[in-house]
């Protein structure tokens, strides 16, 4: 993994606005894939579902089940589109790096966008901010604030740290899993391209690891969405 990232520094002359163009490209592609697949899947909707509609409805039921597991459906149903978009986007992002990785020149262009900590942290921060937003919106400022000193005021610092810890763990868990998978895939890819013995030695572990990465990618997408709903339920449910 001695490839560089295609950085674009100080865009528009703004000193803090740096882009990793590979990330931007992969995010765009992942978004496009998710959008196209989902829109294609939900075309020609019928009362008697066939083919892709069945699959899409299964996905919806799956996420619905996650929400139902963590909170009351009445408060939880507004999070259904969020959960669906999260799970599909993260799943597609995770799998993109498993399928292939591409470098042009010295720069790594094609990879999972979720193998970048900035991106996963952005997603997790967005989720945590949304939990606070909905916590206030659903239960009011007073109830929301009381949660920080419940059951004892002593817990206040712990509760505040918990929010940041949640953000970090949620983002870095996803990043770490996907990044580790990609590092190993990159190493194996380098091995297989290093001659006939390298190919023979590396092909089978490569296959195995790709299968494992598929599994990890799906699991991580599920975990991310599940934890989103769990954090959300902590904030919007009054029985905690």
């Amino acid at each position: 993994m001695d490839h560089e990232a295609p950085l674009a520094l100080d865009v528009f002359g703004i000193s803090w606005l740096d882009f990793n163009l590979s990330n931007v490209l992969m995010m765009a592609i992942a978004s496009l894939i998710v959008f196209v697949l989902c829109v294609l899947g939900s075309r020609k909707l019928q009362m008697k579902p066939t083919g892709t509609q069945n699959f899409m409805e299964w996905v919806i039921d799956f996420v619905k089940g996650m929400i139902n597991d963590t909170m009351d459906w009445k408060t939880g149903k507004v999070f259904l589109p969020l959960g669906l978009t999260l799970i599909t986007y993260i799943l597609v992002s995770n799998l993109m790096g498993v399928v292939t990785m591409a470098t042009f020149g010295h720069d790594l262009w094609w990879k999972s966008p979720t193998s970048d900590p900035g991106i996963t942290l952005t997603l997790s921060t967005m989720v945590i901010v949304l939990t606070h937003y909905y916590g206030i919106k659903v239960r009011g400022v007073k109830e929301y604030g009381k949660d920080y000193v419940r059951p004892f005021p002593v817990f206040l610092p712990i509760k505040i740290i918990e929010e940041f810890a949640n953000t970090l763990t949620l983002g870095l868990r996803l990043f770490g899993n996907i990044y580790a998978g990609e590092v190993l895939l990159g190493l194996l890819a380098a091995t297989t391209s290093a001659g006939i013995w390298g190919f023979l030695g590396g092909a089978i572990p490569m296959l195995a690891w790709q299968g494992f990465s598929l599994f990890i990618g799906s699991i991580q997408a599920f975990i991310f969405t599940m934890l989103t709903m769990v954090y959300m339920s902590h904030k919007v449910s009054s029985d905690h």
């Binding site: 001695d2 990793n20 995010m27 939900s42």
Partner: protein
């Protein structure tokens, strides 16, 4: 900003924490969320909701029509029972009416026969009487005729005299 980038760069290939990436990710995700909600999740959930309502509606309808069918069958059974009873009654009525009519007919026939018999007897009697009368008349006139003939032949002067005298005597005694 090179220093910041250098400081946050975990590994060269990671590219570090780029503020631009974060903003782009946020933007992409929000756009994706809005677009998918409008073009995929919304219609899908709408269809699922509609199906749920449809199914609930169908079940309700089925239950309603089942109850209706049950009611109708009960009604039909009751009606059938009533009709059967009515039919039975009609048959019984007809039977009794038949019996009565039979009796009536027999009665009237008997009466008629009696009447005819009676009148026939009367007529016979009448005719007999008439015949007897006619016979009597005939006999009387015939006997007179015979008697006159006999008398003409048998009665002598003497006898005639005697007879006349007798009559006169009788008349005188009275």
């Amino acid at each position: 900003m090179q220093a910041f980038t250098g400081f946050t760069t975990i590994y060269a290939s990671l590219g570090g924490l780029q503020v631009g990436d974060m903003l782009t990710q946020l933007f992409f995700f929000i756009v994706l969320l809005i677009l998918l909600r409008k073009y995929a999740w919304g219609p899908l959930m709408g269809v699922m909701q509609k199906r749920e309502e449809y199914v609930a509606n169908e079940i309700e309808e089925a239950e309603k029509s089942r109850a209706e069918a049950e009611k109708a069958s009960q009604e039909a059974a009751a009606q059938l029972k009533q009709t059967k009873q009515e039919a039975q009654k009609i048959i019984e009525d007809a039977k009794s009416a038949g019996v009565k009519q039979e009796q009536d007919i027999v009665e009237s026939a008997r009466n008629e026969a009696d009447r005819i018999k009676k009148s026939a007897q009367e007529e016979i009697e009448n005719e007999k009487e008439k015949a007897l009368q006619a016979l009597q008349d005939k006999v009387a006139s015939l006997s007179v005729l015979i008697a006159s003939k006999v008398i003409e032949k048998e009665i002598s002067e003497q006898d005639q005299e005697k007879l006349i005298n007798e009559y006169i005597k009788e008349a005188g005694e009275e």
